[in-house]
Symmetry: C2
Subunit: 456 residues, 2 copies
Amino acid sequence: MGKQTFVIVGGVAAGMSAASRIRGLKKDAEILVFERSNYVSYAACGMPYLIEGKVSSSKDLVVYDSRFFKEKRNIDVFLHHEVVKITPTTKSVLVRNTETGEEKEYSYDRLLISTGARPILPPIKGLNLNGVFTLRQLEEGIAVYDYIGTKKPKRGLIIGAGNIGMEMAEAFSARGLNVTIVEKMPSILGSMDDEINEVVEEELKKNGITLIKLKAVVEFAGENSVVKEAILEDGEKVQADIVIIGAGIRPNAEIATEAGVEIGQTRAIKVNERMETSVTDIYAAGDCAEAYHLIYGRNVYMPLGTTANKQGRVAGENMAGGDAKFIGVVGTSVFKVFGLEVGRTGLTEKDAMREGKDFVSNVIEHNSRAHYYPGGAKIKVKLIADKRSKQLLGAQMVGREGVSKRIDIFATALSAKMTIDDIANLDLGYAPPFAPVYDPVLIAGSELLKKFESIR
Amino acid sequence: MGKQTFVIVGGVAAGMSAASRIRGLKKDAEILVFERSNYVSYAACGMPYLIEGKVSSSKDLVVYDSRFFKEKRNIDVFLHHEVVKITPTTKSVLVRNTETGEEKEYSYDRLLISTGARPILPPIKGLNLNGVFTLRQLEEGIAVYDYIGTKKPKRGLIIGAGNIGMEMAEAFSARGLNVTIVEKMPSILGSMDDEINEVVEEELKKNGITLIKLKAVVEFAGENSVVKEAILEDGEKVQADIVIIGAGIRPNAEIATEAGVEIGQTRAIKVNERMETSVTDIYAAGDCAEAYHLIYGRNVYMPLGTTANKQGRVAGENMAGGDAKFIGVVGTSVFKVFGLEVGRTGLTEKDAMREGKDFVSNVIEHNSRAHYYPGGAKIKVKLIADKRSKQLLGAQMVGREGVSKRIDIFATALSAKMTIDDIANLDLGYAPPFAPVYDPVLIAGSELLKKFESIR
């Protein structure tokens, strides 16, 4: 057998993790990575902080550049190269150099589709005006940063009150902009429950952010091709010198569909725990693919950088002949908005209702540190558990400190399918500067147990 | 059946938790708590911070006073009352009022021994000099605070480099004292491994603390009954105007022994998961009792406030006729020393060796936040896992931030008997201000997995 060729379509988190893992296992294989943009292996989640000015240079967001991969790992990265067709019958890809327009065919033994996702563009007129941005590729983050520096916008508008919307509200605010968020749904952070959302809304208000809910933007109007205002569905106008569209993302799965690769109900690429698609020798990983959810018990679409990295590594190992499994996700995410830390894992109450689960839930508030130790803050914790088995289904938290890693305690408990009894009895670390004797995690557990007792 | 009488011997963490739980389940029972000292239900762990000046008043450390228990929970608390004898045959206790010397007998239906622990006093001459303190009861913490305020000591000496020794070094330093720690063992933090200890020693040095290891103090010498210096076994002298003895604690189990209650090999009171002792209707909980350790698989003596609270609650529930279980501990503890957070859970390498375990261990260092986000710090993580099953046996961490709750992720994993594969695949929260894409917890897991692969 000659030298094996591995082709990677898309070189960000999943793609470069896979490529590196393949190289680790196959010293003499040929590894070709085709990346449409100008960057590989960048930290997309860092863009709000680049724009905010907390990151000194966009270079800091590039984990490794293409030269590093060539020199240190002998991985051939083709920037500005787009794979336009995958032909499983001949095991080849057609690749276009987006700078020259030249097209060339490459053969593969095994292929990874790691094409990521793209922003959902709501049906709004004037999306092409200058000053209207999406935030997906690093180039876009840099463009927003430069636009603020050179055009000095005064009023920032954010479409969508999800995690990115929150982070961008803080970033714009830090750059001195007056910020408005428009969310067409009844609540912010669609995925979270009201007890958490109300705390976040209060924090936005305290920081001078205007939040408009239950209204869609229908048009951006401008002067000399530069955005000046947004027109809402009821005719209300919101002035804006810069706009970020943060209305979610959808998987880049078209090229997979055309190649005959099965797409899941989520519209992302269907994969098994080995990250194999329905087509032999074609794997998928990252934001274009589904992930198995340990609590839902089925594949979901929850694109996140951590998952992309892990899936890429599993795909790479299996492509190189190994036998790795991506165990699954439990839906953990955290974000910072002004002085708040917000986290979730597993199912919210809304999720549990949608799933028809029979559940019990409870909300508590407790100190992050011993009450007498300075600097502590209240943490709000919501837990949801299965009514019959008492198995934890999900947790949500919000507070000024101590949320981001405490949510991971619940994420770990979800993975282990722990019950609320297990959680209330955890042997957690205690010292006055870090926690009260009864940590908010334990209080949340024991108070939910009391609720179970009261309904028995 | 008439009104039941519950007697609690010792009213701090375990005792008052039990009393409160009994009252919650038995509205008309008689609940008598006898407490030798002047306080019930105080936060003993807060004393170093009281001395440091971070806690504004000693009153802040008293969670509830005896009046609260009488008025709100109808629990009769007798301060300055010492139980001098327990007679199981007649189900009675003999109690001495330590202020008047009066003795009185009380009958019980069920009894809890929650007598706590007392400081181990090393064989040093001159322990009775003024300025030599132990730190166990709240009165002692207040006395140290007052002594510093009135006598203005310049040089503080701490005997023992355990958690309390570390916290007191910081407290003395904050009050402007020159601090020396003398530890007779070869390493500080007896329970931790060298990779962690070396970081802590460096931090002590950076903060001007003198550490003397492998030497015992044999005598305190004074002038006019006030301590002036300590004399080490090799004749070296260390000047000291105030001394804290932090050489560990031992269980107050004598009264239990005299009553015929079985004592474990640890010298603490032997209990089952219901917190029952070997004698019918006598329970024990807190620092005088053993605790089942989920990783050792046997009872151990690891006195901690969190355990005392949980054991007290379980004892109270069972004394009142319920059926609660204390599942066990995994040996989690955290402390702060100057700019460092230090944590451990489960077995150290030293512990694993002593147990004759066949294990694999590894140490990594990784960022607490995304590398480009300001304010992060390196965290050092040591993991120990069973060589055959890959089950996690223990974790230790040290760093300038992000340790205290990350250690709880491992504590949860230990409770769930997770393997290193499980840990490397955890779905932990990620956002640049709080964690890198690969959290130190995940890196520690995947690097230990690589070590497993390399020895296969």
